[in-house]
Amino acid sequence: MKFAIALYSAAHAPSSRRALLFAQAVLAGGHDIVRLFFYQDGVYSASNNIVAPQDEQDIARQWREFVSQHQLDGVVCIAAALRRGVLDREEATRYQRSAVNLDAPWALSGLGQLHDAIQDADRLICFGGP
């Protein structure tokens, strides 16, 4: 079965970890993830500037490793990311910002990518809130 997973919360929210463990269980169960879409505060889960406290799990890093390892399509909503200061090199250059905090395996793109993933997938599962 094909899953699309949308994440609406930052890496420090328990729901981000829940989404990650769910996504891992999806692949372990022999299913496919057609796309991960990080929306609203979910864009923070893709920032590579997150420094997790030493006594806490680094969920942002675990997300990055998970997406890289399985070569998943990790899409970060560009509108949500720009307003929260999550920029890749292209956007930082475009808006003359000094900081770049988004790179591979993530890709900035539009909400249409979520719509497209929903059309392609058998199930859309959203994670957000606490």
């Binding site: 899953f3 729901s15 829940r18 769910f22 269980a25 809130g129 606490p130």
Partner: protein, 92 residues
């Protein structure tokens, strides 16, 4: 068409669970996770006849006993529920 409703907010802090129960159909089920697991201690769910699941790690982390009207699932079980039900509606 069956729907799995996923709740992660405590029913003691907002009205999501009540709203969910109002639209919950006969074939639907509720999965409690995060602070939503406190729904196990809410009178709102008892005797409603709606199928209730709770994410095991969240009920265990909160030391919530599992009532006989609820079932506990791990993450592979969560994935299976999302396959078994036609749609998954998360109460964000």
């Amino acid at each position: 068409m069956s729907t799995l409703h996923v709740l992660s907010h405590s029913p003691f802090t907002d009205s999501r669970l009540d709203s969910c129960l109002r639209i919950c159909g006969a074939e639907d089920a509720i999965l409690l996770c995060g602070d939503g697991a406190y729904g196990l201690q809410s009178a709102a769910l008892q005797g409603k006849g709606v199928k209730v699941f709770v994410l095991a790690e969240d009920s265990q982390a909160r030391n919530l006993p599992l009532p006989d009207w609820a079932d506990s699932v791990d993450y592979p079980g969560f994935v299976q529920l999302s396959v078994d039900y036609d749609k998954v509606n998360t109460w964000l």
